[in-house]
Amino acid sequence: MIVAARGQMAKQFYNPPDVFSPVSIYSHGVRSGRTVTLAGQAPLHDDGTVVGPGDPAAQCRRVFADLRKTLDLAGATFENVVYVRAYLTQKAVLPVLRRVAGEIFGSNRPAFTPVIVPSVRAEGALVEIELVVELDP
């Protein structure tokens, strides 16, 4: 473990090798203290192409699958999530996301903000999700 001044753990950066990054200027997850902040995750294949064009359920599932890989590296699960911010290109994606999220979060009930935007960074993506996680003490 990397230890910084005053006994605090240094920040940890999480980048699952099998989760696509469009550019190496950011991390998929950063831990500071007990808080892990996850980058907006788009539904992308390993080569960067969009998963399930026009298929919101397939896209939501892929997003959560990739978020799970980042959570794994941080030693966290979806039970540790306290905040979900979802960027959606259409309101119609919201009920689909609700259904898929219901399968993902188990008994956890994180705070949730949907943000409906004209488009997201990955062309063809209908959804992008970022998370805030609090690790167990």
């Binding site: 007990r34 808080t35 306290v82 905040y83 219901g102 994180p110 705070a111 609090e134």
Partner: protein, 137 residues
């Protein structure tokens, strides 16, 4: 202290696996709130000030459930369908926060949930007192 799900009954039930707010340690995450009643009916159709007033009433209720007040808020994010609503939100926020000055980002979005909502707001609050629970004497 375990994570607390904040769901004041007067706010109504949120669809999906979500809470109106979550308290983890000294941090409270409040889900995006829109101007509607417990049954999801919009209050103040086409009236940005009326909707914003309801939004901050709801945010205040979630904060109170987590033991916080408006002066504990550190971040406000506003999602507006139209920039013409900004003046109305400033008026309501001035009344809600008084002299308190949290960090803030407002941006325009292509739509807001539920139908008829002109805007939504989320906040993050940070309590000053320690999270450690007092042992009984």
């Amino acid at each position: 202290m375990p994570k607390q799900f904040l769901n004041p009954p007067e706010l109504g039930v949120l669809a999906g696996p979500y809470s109106q707010g979550v308290r983890s340690g000294n941090t409270i995450w409040v889900s995006a709130q829109a101007g509607h009643d417990a049954e999801g009916r919009i209050i103040g159709a086409n009236d940005p000030e009326a909707q914003c007033r309801v939004i901050f009433q709801r945010i205040g209720a979630v904060l109170a459930e987590g033991g916080a007040t408006p002066s504990d808020v550190v971040m406000v994010r506003g999602f507006l369908k139209h920039r013409d609503y900004i003046q109305a939100t400033w008026k309501v926020r001035r009344q809600f926060f008084g002299e308190h000055r949290p960090a803030s980002t407002t941006f325009m979005v292509s739509d807001v949930e539920p139908a008829g909502a002109l805007m939504s707001f989320e906040v993050v609050a940070s309590l000053d007192e320690p999270a450690t629970e007092k042992m009984p004497a």
